[in-house]
Symmetry: C2
Subunit: 358 residues, 2 copies
C-alpha cells in the first residue's frame, strides 16, 4: 500500500496529466462508463467550544483505469467572524494538522493501492475542471486573462488556464493588496513568456480581458454583469461567485454536474445549522430550475451538447460542486507515475487486507 | 495511527463489551444523539470473467464516544453455481486476500485513529445486535436454544446468546452433516456448562426450543411457521431467512433499522443486475409496508416501544440490514482496549494527515 505526501503528489501530478485524465473521465462518465459515489456529510457536535465535527466522503468508480477512489475529510470546523465576515475555518487539531485523505482501490483485485492527503490533488482537480471547460468553450485566440482571487485555488486556475491557452497577459485582483502582490510576485517566474500584473481594482482587472476566472472564497457574487462583453469566456469555482444577472448575459452555460447533490445530515442537537443559510440554496430557488437547468460539462467534452459556435458568444462554466470521480481520474495518474518513479513509502499490504471471507 | 489485525480485534473485542457498547449506542441513536452514514454500493464491470467489482461503504458518528467510523469493502464478486444453488463468492484477488476495512476517526480532533480488517468485527456486531434483541425480548427463563446454521455467523450468534441468557441446552442444525458436527465439536469446549448437540433434522433442532436463531447464508426462508410455539423468541440475520407466514405468528416484532436502506448503483453496462432478483425485494412488496412496518430495535432498548409483556407471547427480531454505526460502537471499544493494552502497530500519523488547510 503506497503512501504519498502532498509534496510528492504535487511533484507527480502535472496539470497537463490531470487535464488529460479528466477529459477521458468526463467522456466515459457521459457514456455511462463511470460511476459516482455520492457525497455525504455528517455533522455532529463535539466538545470544542463554538465548533462542530464534519465528516465528508465522496468517490467514484472508473473501470477504464481500474480505479475506485474515495476521498475523506474529517474536520473540526468553526465559523469565526474575521473582518466582519463569517468564515468557515477548519481547525488543525490532529497534532496541529488537518485530516483529508484520498484512498485508491483496484477494481481488478479489490486491493487498497494507495493513500495520500487530499490537499494538493483537491485544488489541481478544481483547476483542471475549469481548465477543461476553458479549453472547450473559450475562443482559440484568447490572450488576456483576468484572475479574481489570489489564494491556493487561484494558483491552480492560473496553471490550468496557461495549460490550455496561450495567454500573453494576466491581471490578478483580490481584495487584499498584500495578497495579490505576493501572488503575482510568486507566479511571474513560472510563466516568463506572459505579462502577469497586479490590478488594484476589479474593473482594472477585467477591462481588457477575453477570459475572466473567479477563484475566491467569497460567499457573495463576485462576477458582475457589466463586465461581460461579447466573445468572453467566464468561469468560477463555486455557485456563490455567480449571479443570475451574469448568467442572463451568457449564451452558452455549462455546470460541473447536476448529479452530485450534497447529502448533509446535521440533525444532531448542538450542531449549527450552517447549511440552511446557504446563498446557494436561495439562489437555486430564484429561478425555476436554478443552476441545475444547465448541462454537465461532461456532455460538452463527449460531444453530446454543443458549445460555442461563433466568436461573439459569451460562454460560461460554473464549477457548482466537486465530484468524487475526479479523485479517481487524478488518482489513476498519480498512482501510475508514483509506481514508475518508485516514489512514496510502501506499507505492508497485509495490514490493509484480510485472510477471512468477510 | 493504529493498525490491528483480525486476530488482535478478536482478542480485544469480547461479546460482552460489544453488547454493552451497542446497548449504549442504540439508546443514543434512539434519542437523536448518533448519526448514520448511509450504506452505498457501487457495482461495476471488471476484467475477471463472470465477475464484477463491488465497493461498499457505510459508517456513523457517535459523539458520546468521540468516534466516526467508516467501514469499506472492496470486492471482486462472482456468482458460481455450487450444488445447484447460486452463491455469492468474494474472490481473494488482493494477493490471495480480501479487502474489508474499518477506519476510526476522532470527532474531537479529526485524527484517523485506527484501521483494521472488518472480518472479525463484522460478525461480532451481527451477533451482538441479535444478542441485544434476545436480551430485551426473550423470557428470562429460556434454557433451550435451537441454532440453525454452522458457519462463522452462527458462532457469533451462539456467543451472543450465551452472553445474555443461561442456556443449558443448544441444538445445532445445518444442511451439511460434516459442518454441523465440526461446529459442535468446536464450540463444546467453550461452554462446558451447556449441553451442545447436533440435530440431524431441522425439526429435531427446534422441537424443544425456547429460542430459535437462524444464522445461515440461505436466500430462501429458513424459519417455518409450524415451528413457532407460545413463549418463543426467534431471530434471523437477514430478511431472506424470514417469511410473512412466520411473522404472522409473532406478537412482537422488531427489525434492526428502517433507516439503513441500501443505495446500490449498478447501472454500468456489463455489471450483472444481481440485486433485481432479490427475494427481499419481492418479499418487501408482498405486504403493504413489508418488513419496514416494524419498529427499530433501538426503540425497544431505549424504552420507546414496548417489548414482551407476558410469557406466552412470541417475540421476533429480524436483523434486516447492518448499520455502519455498529462499527463506531464496536470500534470505540476496540480502540480503547488496544491503547490500554499497547496492542497493534502504530504508523506515522503524518502519513494520514496534512499541513495544508484542504
Amino acid at each position: 500500500m503506497l503512501v504519498l505526501s502532498n509534496e510528492e503528489v504535487g511533484q507527480l501530478l502535472t496539470m497537463e496529466d490531470c487535464l488529460d485524465a479528466l477529459e477521458r473521465l468526463y467522456i466515459d462518465y457521459a457514456n455511462d462508463k463511470a460511476l459516482l459515489s455520492l457525497r455525504h456529510d455528517n455533522l455532529s457536535p463535539n466538545s470544542t467550544p463554538e465548533a462542530y465535527y464534519a465528516f465528508k466522503h465522496m468517490g467514484g468508480t472508473w473501470p477504464a483505469e481500474g480505479i475506485q477512489a474515495l476521498r475523506l475529510n474529517s474536520d473540526v470546523i468553526t465559523h469565526p467572524v474575521i473582518e466582519g465576515k463569517i468564515r468557515r475555518v477548519k481547525q488543525p487539531l490532529a497534532n496541529g494538522r488537518w485530516v483529508g485523505l484520498v484512498m485508491l482501490f483496484s477494481t481488478e483485485t479489490g486491493q487498497l493501492l494507495a493513500m495520500f492527503p487530499d490537499g494538493v490533488m483537491q485544488r489541481i482537480r478544481v483547476g483542471a475542471a475549469n481548465g477543461t471547460a476553458l479549453k472547450h468553450l473559450a475562443r482559440e485566440d484568447v490572450s488576456k486573462l483576468a484572475l479574481i482571487g489570489s489564494g491556493w485555488q487561484a494558483g491552480a486556475q492560473l496553471m490550468a488556464a496557461m495549460a490550455v491557452r496561450d495567454f500573453k497577459n494576466v491581471r490578478v485582483y483580490s481584495t487584499r493588496k498584500e495578497n495579490r502582490e505576493n501572488f503575482v510576485a510568486e507566479v511571474k517566474s513560472l510563466y516568463p513568456t506572459a505579462d502577469i500584473e497586479v490590478a488594484d481594482t476589479p474593473e482594472e482587472c477585467v477591462e481588457a480581458a477575453d477570459v475572466i476566472m473567479s477563484a475566491t472564497s467569497a460567499m457573495i457574487p463576485v462576477l458582475q454583469s457589466e463586465w461581460i462583453k461579447p466573445g468572453m469566456h467566464i468561469s468560477c469555482i463555486k455557485t456563490y461567485e455567480m449571479s443570475p444577472e451574469v448568467l442572463d448575459k451568457c449564451d452558452v452555460v455549462f455546470i460541473h454536474t447536476q448529479a452530485q447533490g450534497k447529502h448533509i445530515d446535521n440533525t444532531l442537537p448542538g450542531t449549527p445549522n450552517v447549511f440552511n443559510e446557504s446563498k446557494h440554496k436561495e439562489w437555486v430557488n430564484d429561478r425555476e430550475k436554478g443552476i441545475l437547468q444547465y448541462p454537465d460539462i461532461k456532455k460538452l467534452v463527449a460531444g453530446q451538447e454543443p458549445g460555442r459556435d461563433n466568436p461573439e458568444q459569451v460562454t460560461c462554466f460554473v464549477n457548482n460542486i466537486g465530484m468524487g470521480l475526479q479523485f479517481a481520474a487524478a488518482g489513476a495518474v498519480i498512482y501510475k507515475r508514483a509506481m514508475e518513479a518508485g516514489i512514496g513509502v510502501q506499507l505492508e499490504d497485509d495490514w490493509f487486507s484480510e485472510d477471512v471471507h468477510p
